[in-house]
C-alpha cells in the first residue's frame, strides 16, 4: 500500500448504509465507529479488509461496514477468520463479537486462537449479558447479578470469566482493554492491535443500557492504565490480577512469531501420483 493511498480514507468510507439493529444508547455504535476510524487511520483498503463475526448483538457489525464480511454462526467467528487469514494472508482480518459468543459457546476457539497466534485482531464488545435473547447472564457476568428476570435470584454464583488473563496465559500476542465511551482511545488501541503481528485481543467494555442500566456508570470509573504495555506475560498478568478491571489501555505486547503453516515446495498435482503407481 502506498502512502498516498493511506491518507485517502475517512471512517465514513468503511461504513455501509445499513441501519444497525442496536438499541439507542448501545455501546456498540461507538465501537463500530472506533473500528472504522482505526481502519481509516491505518489506510486499509475496504476491499482488502475482512470483518468476521459470530452471533449476538455486536456480531451484526460486518454488514454495517463496507468491507468484505462474514456473519457466521454462534461461537465460530474466530475459526472462520483463521481459515480466511491462512488462505489469504494478504487481507487484514478483524473479528468482532460479544462475550457470550466469544467466551461461552466459542470459548474453546478463543483459547486455541490465542495459542495459534494467527495474525488477526479480535475485538470483543463485552457487556456482561446476553442482550439479543433479552438478558441472561453471560460468562463475564458478576456472580451476584440478578437484576434480570432471566437470572436466578441471588445471581449465578459463578466466577466471572477473566478474558484478559485467559488470553495472556493462552499465548495471545497483544492484549488490551478499552472502553466504548472513549471512541478515540478505542480506535487507537484497535489500530495498534491490527498493526501488531500475531493474535491481538481487545476487550472493549461496551455498555448494554437496556439490560444492564448500571453500566452507564462505567464512564465515571474507567481510567487510563498506569503504565505502558508490559512486554512479558508474567508482568502483564501480575498487573491484571491486582487491578479492579477499570484500567484502560494496552496491557501486553509480545514478540511471538505469528503462525504460518508450511507451504509451497513447488510440486504439481501430477507429481503426487507417483507413490501409487506400480
Amino acid at each position: 500500500m502506498t502512502e498516498s493511498c493511506a491518507l485517502s480514507y475517512t471512517a465514513k468510507d468503511y461504513k455501509s448504509e445499513v441501519k444497525p439493529v442496536w438499541c439507542p444508547g448501545c455501546g456498540d455504535y461507538a465501537v463500530l465507529s472506533s473500528i472504522t476510524k482505526a481502519f481509516a487511520d491505518l489506510g486499509l483498503e475496504p476491499h482488502k479488509t475482512a470483518v468476521v463475526s459470530g452471533i449476538g448483538c455486536s456480531s451484526r457489525i460486518p454488514a454495517y461496514t463496507n468491507c468484505y464480511g462474514f456473519h457466521t454462526i454462534h461461537g465460530r467467528s474466530l475459526v472462520v477468520a483463521t481459515g480466511l487469514k491462512l488462505a489469504r494472508p494478504d487481507l487484514t482480518v478483524l473479528v468482532a463479537g460479544g462475550d457470550g459468543d466469544g467466551f461461552s459457546i466459542g470459548g474453546n476457539h478463543f483459547l486455541h486462537s490465542c495459542r495459534r497466534n494467527v495474525d488477526m485482531t479480535y475485538v470483543v464488545m463485552d457487556n456482561r449479558v446476553y442482550g439479543m435473547t433479552k438478558g441472561q447472564p453471560s460468562p463475564t457476568t458478576e456472580a451476584d447479578w440478578d437484576a434480570s428476570a432471566m437470572a436466578p435470584p441471588g445471581g449465578t454464583g459463578l466466577v466471572p470469566f477473566n478474558p484478559l488473563a485467559i488470553a495472556l496465559s493462552a499465548g495471545a500476542n497483544f492484549v488490551a482493554r478499552a472502553f466504548a465511551g472513549d471512541p478515540n482511545g478505542t480506535a487507537s488501541i484497535i489500530a495498534e492491535a491490527v498493526r501488531h503481528p500475531g493474535f491481538s485481543f481487545v476487550a472493549v467494555m461496551s455498555p448494554c443500557v437496556t439490560f444492564r442500566e448500571e453500566q452507564r456508570e462505567w464512564k465515571n470509573v474507567v481510567r487510563p492504565a498506569p503504565g505502558p504495555a508490559a512486554t512479558t506475560a508474567a508482568e502483564a498478568a501480575a498487573r491484571l490480577m491486582t487491578d479492579d478491571g477499570f484500567n484502560m489501555g494496552v496491557l501486553y505486547k509480545g514478540d511471538r512469531r505469528p503462525y504460518q503453516p508450511v507451504t509451497g515446495t513447488g510440486k504439481t498435482v501430477a507429481d503426487l501420483d507417483a507413490e501409487f503407481v506400480l
Binding site: N66, H71, I73, G83
Partner: protein, 593 residues
C-alpha cells in the same frame, strides 16, 4: 462347489449355488501384536503386485492402541477385486491369541485350509467346526533354525508356495525393502521364506492363483483414504483443516504431506467445529477447501454446513463412516450415516451428498465432489466407509479425469452499479467474488438475505433465496456420473458404497446361473435424480436393495425419493460385510431358480 452348505455370519446355514470367483484366492493371516502379520501381508501384496495381480487387503484388529491381535484379510486375483469373497481359502495363524474375536470376519468352509503352529495352542473350536482341513506348520521352531529368522516370514513362504506365487518374486520384494538398510535381516528373511515354502510342499493342494497371461496390466496400489486425498487435490483443493478421527485419519495424514508440496495449506484444528469452519473461511477467501472426518465429527459439523448452504460458500466434507451411533465401533465399517448426511441439516437446506463405490472410486468421487461444490457453491458431503478408506488395494490405473473445481467468479461491477452477491440468476448460481476485488464487498451470512446479501426476514426474500439454492442443485447436469449402472435384466440390485463390489460379483454369478440382473449404484445421493432413476429402472420388475444399515436407511431414502417396483431388502448392521453369496442366493430366489 454347487449346492455347498455355507455358514452365514449369524451361524445360520444358508444354501447358495454360488461357486465364488474362480480367479481369486482369499488368505487370512492372524496373530498377536508383534507377530508380524501385517508385515507379512504387505509383503504378500507387494509380491502379488510384482507378479501382475490385483488385490484387496483389509485389516481387522483388537481395541488396543498399538499392538494386540490383528488379522490381515487378503484377496488376490488376476481380475480387479472389489469385494471380499464368500470364504477364506487359507487361514494361517502365527498364534491363536484372541483370534476367536475375528471368527465372524473369517468365513471358513470344508474347502478351507487352516495352517496352525502346533506349539501355539489348538485351533479354536469356532473355526475347527467349519470342517476346514487343518495342517500343522511349526513356524516358531522353523524360524529358530535360522539366525534372525522370524515366524511371519516362514508363514509368508508357505502361503506363497500354496497359492503359486514364485519364491523368487517374494525374495525380490524383500530385497527392495530390506537389502540396503539391513543386509542381515534380508538374508534371514529370504532363508525363512524359502524354508516356509519348502515346508508347504507336504501340505497338499489348495486353490492357486491363475497365471497372468500376457503383459502385466497398468495398476496402482492405494488405500481408499489416500485415493480420497488424491481426488481432493486433483479437484483443486488447496486448503484443509481437520481434527484426527478414526477411520478418516489417513486422509489427513496424506494431505498433511501432499498439500504443502503443491503450495496448499494444512491445519490441525482444535475440534471438528473449528476444522469445518476454518475450511468455510478459507473457501470464502477463494481457496477450495475440504475436511475429513467420521460420524461423530460430521455430527459436530452439521450446523456449519447449514451456514455453507445459506451463505453459498462451498466446502467438501469426507465422512469415512464407521459403526454408530455415538462412539460406536470406530475401527469398523457401516453405512449408517446416510440419514445425517442427507437429512441432518436444520431448515430446508439443499446440499450435495455423494458416495464412492470402490476404493479406486474414492479418487474420482472426491474429485467430482470438489468440482460440484465449487461449481454449485454448496457443501458436498462425501460418504466413504472404513472398509474402503482403510483397505489397501491393487487396482486398475485410475483414469485422469478433467473435473476441477471451477467457481463462477464475480468481476468488479461497473461504476455506480450495486453488486448483488445473491443475484437471482436462471441457474441459481450467482457470481462469487474473491475478497480483494474492489466493488464486490458483501457480507456472507447465515441469516436469510436479499440479493445483495442484506439480512431479511421477509417472505419474498426467503422464497426467492430458498428456490435459488434448490434450483442450482436440481437443475445441474450431472451426466452419467450420478450412478454406476451395469448389465441388463428385469431384476435390479440397487445398492451403494462398499456393498457395490459384492453386488457386482453376485450379479455376475447370477447371470452365469441364468438370472439376468442389473446393478444400480447411485454415486449422487443428494439431490436425487428421479428421471435418471426411472430410466435406469425401465423394464425392471423387481428390485433388491442391499445395504449395511440396521435401520435400512438407504431403502427408506429410495422409497422417499424414487418410484420402485416390487422391492426386497437385504440389510444388516455393520461391521460384517455383505458377501456376494448372500446377494446371489436372493437373486436366484427372485429369479425363480
Amino acid at each position: 462347489m454347487a449346492g455347498l452348505v455355507r455358514r452365514g455370519p449369524s451361524g445360520v446355514e444358508d444354501m447358495t449355488k454360488s461357486s465364488g470367483a474362480t480367479n481369486s484366492v482369499s488368505i487370512a493371516m492372524c496373530g498377536s501384536g508383534g507377530a508380524g502379520v501385517m508385515t507379512a501381508a504387505n509383503m504378500l501384496l507387494d509380491a502379488a503386485a510384482d507378479a501382475g495381480y490385483f488385490a484387496l487387503f483389509g485389516r481387522s484388529s483388537g481395541p488396543q492402541i498399538r499392538g494386540g491381535e490383528a488379522a490381515a484379510l487378503v484377496r488376490l486375483s488376476s481380475e480387479p477385486v472389489s469385494s471380499v469373497d464368500d470364504t477364506t481359502e487359507i487361514l494361517l495363524a502365527i498364534d491363536w491369541q484372541n483370534v476367536h474375536r475375528f471368527a465372524a470376519e473369517l468365513p471358513l468352509d470344508a474347502h478351507s485350509v487352516i495352517i496352525t503352529d502346533p506349539t501355539q495352542g489348538d485351533v479354536p473350536e469356532v473355526m475347527a467346526k467349519s470342517g476346514a482341513r487343518i495342517v500343522e506348520l511349526p513356524m516358531k521352531d522353523l524360524a529358530k533354525e535360522i539366525p534372525g529368522g522370524r515366524p511371519n516370514m516362514i508363514a509368508l513362504g508357505a502361503v506363497c508356495h500354496l497359492i503359486g506365487l514364485p519364491v523368487d518374486i517374494v525374495t525380490e520384494v524383500l530385497g527392495k525393502s530390506l537389502k540396503k538398510k539391513r543386509a542381515d535381516a534380508y538374508e534371514a528373511s529370504v532363508a525363512a521364506v524359502k524354508k516356509g515354502a519348502e515346508a508347504a510342499l507336504t501340505m497338499g493342494q489348495t486353490k492357486r492363483l491363475p497365471a497372468i497371461a500376457g503383459d502385466k496390466p497398468k495398476r496402482w496400489t492405494i488405500t481408499g483414504n489416500q485415493a480420497a486425498g488424491l481426488g481432493a487435490v486433483r479437484g483443486g483443493i488447496t486448503f484443509c483443516a481437520a481434527y484426527p478421527i478414526t477411520p478418516a485419519t489417513e486422509i489427513l495424514e496424506w494431505l498433511t504431506g501432499a498439500l504443502p508440496k503443491i503450495g496448499g495449506t494444512f491445519v490441525q484444528a482444535e475440534d471438528e467445529l473449528a476444522s469445518v469452519n476454518m475450511c468455510i473461511g478459507a473457501s470464502y477467501g477463494g481457496a477450495p477447501s475440504l475436511t475429513a472426518t467420521s460420524g461423530p465429527g460430521l455430527a459436530l459439523m452439521i450446523e456449519a454446513l447449514g451456514m455453507s448452504t445459506a451463505s453459498e460458500t462451498p466446502v467438501v466434507v469426507v465422512d469415512v463412516q464407521r459403526g454408530g451411533p455415538s462412539t460406536g465401533i470406530p475401527t469398523k465399517s457401516e453405512q449408517s450415516d446416510l440419514n445425517i448426511a442427507i437429512y441432518g441439516l436444520h431448515g430446508d437446506a439443499p446440499h450435495l451428498v455423494v458416495a464412492p463405490n470402490s476404493i479406486g472410486d474414492c479418487l474420482f468421487t472426491t474429485q467430482w465432489a470438489v468440482h460440484l461444490a465449487e461449481s454449485l457453491q454448496a457443501p458436498c458431503i462425501v460418504l466413504s466407509e472404513q472398509s474402503l478408506g482403510q483397505s489397501r488395494a491393487i487396482i486398475p490405473e485410475p483414469a485422469d479425469v478433467a473435473f476441477v473445481g471451477k467457481r463462477l467468479i464475480a468481476q468488479a461491477p461497473a461504476e455506480g452499479e450495486k453488486f448483488k452477491r445473491y443475484a437471482l440468476t436462471n441457474t441459481g448460481v450467482s457470481p462469487m467474488p474473491v475478497p480483494g476485488t474492489p466493488g464486490c464487498q458483501y457480507t456472507a451470512d447465515g441469516l436469510e438475505h436479499t440479493e445483495t446479501g442484506l439480512p431479511s426476514s421477509q417472505s419474498g426474500d426467503h422464497f426467492a433465496q430458498l428456490d435459488k439454492r434448490l434450483r442450482k442443485l436440481t437443475g445441474h447436469e450431472y451426466g452419467d456420473h450420478w450412478a454406476t449402472i451395469e448389465g441388463e435384466g428385469d431384476i435390479a440390485v440397487i445398492t451403494w458404497g462398499s456393498c457395490t463390489g459384492a453386488a457386482r460379483e453376485a450379479v455376475e454369478r447370477a447371470r452365469a446361473d441364468g438370472v439376468a440382473a442389473k446393478l444400480i449404484s447411485p454415486r449422487l445421493l443428494s439431490p436425487s435424480r428421479p428421471d435418471a432413476m426411472a430410466k435406469a429402472l425401465a423394464g425392471v420388475k423387481k428390485v433388491l436393495v442391499v445395504e449395511l444399515s440396521h435401520l435400512a436407511q438407504f431403502h427408506k431414502y429410495l422409497r422417499a425419493e424414487y418410484d420402485l417396483p416390487q422391492t426386497q431388502v437385504l440389510h444388516r448392521a455393520g461391521p460384517l460385510p455383505i458377501r456376494p453369496h448372500e446377494i446371489h442366493s436372493r437373486l436366484l430366489a427372485m429369479g425363480g431358480k
